[in-house]
Amino acid sequence: MPDASARPVPVNHPAYPAVNVDVAMELGLRSSEYDLAVERLGRVPTYLELNMFAVEWSEHCAYKYSRNTLRAFGEFKKAQDANALEGAGVVPLGNTGQGIVFKMESHNHPSYVEPFNGSATGVGGIIRDIISMGARPIAVLDSLRFGDIDGDTDIHIKNRFLFSGVVHGISSYGNCLGVPTVGGEITFHPCYNTNPLVNAMAIGVVELGNVAKSAAKGVGNPVVFFGSATGRDGIHGATFASVEISEASEAKRPNVQVGDPFFGKLLIEATLEILATGHIRGIQDFGAAGFTCASVEMSSKGNVGMDINADVIPQRETGMTAAEIFTSESQERMLCVVEKGHEDEIIAICDKWGLSSAVIGTVTDTQSVVIHHQGRIEADVPAQLLTDGCPTYTLDAAEPDYIAVCKAFDTDALPEPADYSASLLKLLGTPTIASKRWVFETYDHQVQTQTEVVPGAGDAAVLAVRAAGGRRIAATTDCNPRWCYLDPHLGSQHAVAEASRNLSCVGAVPVATTDNLNMPNPEKETGFWQFSQCVYGLAEACDFFGAPVVSGNVSFYNESPTGPIHPTPTIGMVGVFPEGVEPVGLAFQSVNDLVYLLRPVGTEDERGIGGSQYLYVEHGLETGALPKLDMEAELAVQNALREMIAHGIIKSAHDCSDGGLLVNVCESALAGNTGVELRLSVTDFGDQPWSAICFGEAASRVVVSVREGGDEQTALLDIAEAHGIEAVFIGQVTSRNKIELPGVLEVSIDAARDAFEGTIPRIMAH
């Protein structure tokens, strides 16, 4: 390797401030980190270099607080040890030769200060992670969390503004891209009042032999930039993501990137065409920290350096300094290394798609990123110092006091509701449970004509992937933040179990997971405890269900002056259908079909009131011990369920989650436009009170329907027995427009529909 001392020492542009520890700390570095940078570099960094350290050594880019904990994820550890971490994970799509590429990423803070552009660029960013691996994006899912929207205070009004702005941003960007938004989840809770969560997950498909890599290869190869020109938007977005939201956050609005979905669409087509030439020797999208991140990470992974001339980078504003160019997070940009001699071919493809492009540098053997600007060398930093050289920390963790108090709370002592019908309607009309049709009808969920189970029709989205000969995949996002608050370890395992169950409910076998760990400030002991408990719980459960975490994202500092969010480890899980298996939806299909509850044996007296929606909505309480989770038993239920679906025995399947059994059957009746009569026997439920039977959220339960009196009914019972699970008869689909549980409750379908479908439009019409 050439000796750096033989090269000229980088100098500061005269317009820059002098570099010292105060400036470093303003940019977000710790003083010890600044000292380390000076020591390792052997000199005081230039202002541009200091900016590069600040963004690369932010939690957002370096995972410096989370890295040690994340090694609990086996795939992460393997990839990290092999220096092979890529933008997203890849898993085989059955035996079709195609791979599924997918990842979830947060855009929480930007969405708070600028909901429309914050969420739009969240979608754009995650799509670029997929295309930079050579995959064509085929679906997006969004997991969204907002504060309370139902009320007249300033905070409710603000939350409605955020909710509507985020949804509008996603629909505006995703629809234009031509990538269907096929699913996700939206929940509401005051802990997100000034800190909404916007987690976007993208799925793509790539031929397994053609997965693109980010490592830069081939000394002497040209480095080509393509995409939108660079402007001043989004400067220091990564460092902004690494602090808590405060009053001052409003002033960060210029730090929010502005997306252009039209260029996003052009970038998809151009990137895939460019990769198809076979002349690309490394490619990465511009995510957080823009040019810095792309050039440094590609060099670091390739064990090479890059010489970059900032003057020739296409810019959309005049007078930008190199520091601005290298920290800008302007959207829709890519960096690639091209086999020497083929750069004109690549640039011609960019011209065809109307994207700006330029040869901006060369791959070198210096292992350093050297940046030239206006006749000066402004930076010369070893790439691996900026990546692996970031110090990592193991922070102190301490269990918060509330945990023990909540676990000890006795929910059995609570009174029964005065009117079960009223309780059911109240639950159906809770914004978290109520239909999100108001949202998903503004998303194009059908473009690409592969979506077979659309939002609201099943427990997971189902796509028949044309590139894989029509083989089906399913995807879902799940997390119950209240459960993760009450018990981060168990709550996270429930989130994984539910995601897996949702995939099983449509007939898919879970294959892999992406996670988006939305957490409070890790520098507080309780915050770091919540984070690490969630990670350990997730890692165990994902491995158990055969769906290891193959990609993910950590978002810390989700706190505001009103307090931290509930720890929210959002699970994005993908499953593959066995060949020829037809998907099942959640809607009841025909009058007289029989309704069964599948559950593990010995769980009839599980109440599931601790941490339930019922407890929160009816009693205003957020406490109690979570329902137990026996993962073996859960797996048995899912295996049985998938076997029933594979044999075409059942006509609907829907898992019991928020709101319990009654909300579950209501949703199936509403979707199928039928009535249902429940014939529950309390003895089948361990003589529990009706509130627990109707609204308890015990784990591992799925409601299915089957044709009456046919072979299917016998087959269902046989399969249940073979898997050692219970199939409890609980009722029948009727033509009466009612949800009936004789002697306990009766609700008309119209009233149920009004609560379920009408709530969110009514609130948002305010």
Partner: protein, 233 residues
């Protein structure tokens, strides 16, 4: 005998081009040639679909820039010669902007993008794209648009109605379209169709509806008839 070949126009920002291609080829009717927005040679093309999407990012107005592109001059000539041309969604907007069909598509009355299945009433079967439909019958075809509210002058509406040029009307108007119009016909031989709903999304039960199949069956039949005439002639 030559294989029926449809041309699917691709503008920067088109996003239903591949869906139109898939519908035609998966139904087994023939070949597809993708036509780049700068192409002007339509040799060997039997019919043209201008697909949905966001051509040119909806700059100015949806369809306004695409209408000025080189390929649309060629498409206009093709239509003037009686060649079948269908504009779907953004394609309908483009055909209106290009003057191949009257009227305009404006912002939905609800001011939001709407993606859902719609029930359409078939108003005529007199077009190369429609003869397999049953007049007066209902079909389900999904919509997905933010600017699908059809508007035109009272005179144009009267002309459309008098000349049986309304192809489909919504059973329940999702966007505020004048006279519930979902699609209209034009061209010298009733050979130009514009519609906001997406027939290419309604070609199998698995996708939720089959209301788009007659669109493609009709077109395949019309092309075959023309090819036969050419062979006979």
């Amino acid at each position: 005998m030559s294989i029926p070949t449809i041309g699917v126009v691709v503008f920067p920002g088109s996003n239903c081009d591949r869906d139109a291609e898939a519908a035609w080829t998966e139904l087994g009717f023939g070949n597809v040639k993708m036509l780049w927005h700068q192409d002007t040679d339509l040799t060997g093309i039997d019919a043209i679909i201008v697909p949905g999407g966001f051509s040119y990012g909806d700059a100015l107005r949806a369809g306004a820039v695409a209408a000025m592109s080189p390929v649309m001059d060629a498409v206009a000539d093709f239509a003037a010669d009686g060649g079948p041309v269908a504009g779907i969604c953004n394609g309908f907007q483009i055909l209106c902007e290009a003057g191949l069909l009257p009227g305009a598509l404006t912002r939905n009355s609800g001011l939001t993008f709407v993606c859902k299945p719609t029930v359409l009433k078939v108003c005529t079967d007199d077009s190369p794209f429609l003869f397999e439909y049953e007049v007066g019958g209902n079909v389900i075809i999904p919509i997905a648009h933010g600017e699908g509210r059809y508007v035109c002058s009272p005179e144009t509406l009267a002309e459309l109605e008098e000349n049986d040029l309304i192809a489909f009307r919504y059973a329940e108007n999702p966007n505020g379209s004048l006279a519930d119009i979902a699609g209209i016909i034009g061209g010298p031989d009733r050979n130009v169709l514009g519609m906001m709903p997406h027939p290419e999304r309604a070609v199998s039960e698995a996708l939720g509806s089959t209301g788009g199949i007659p669109f493609f069956v009709s077109l395949a039949g019309a092309i075959q008839q023309t090819l036969n005439e050419v062979t006979v002639g």
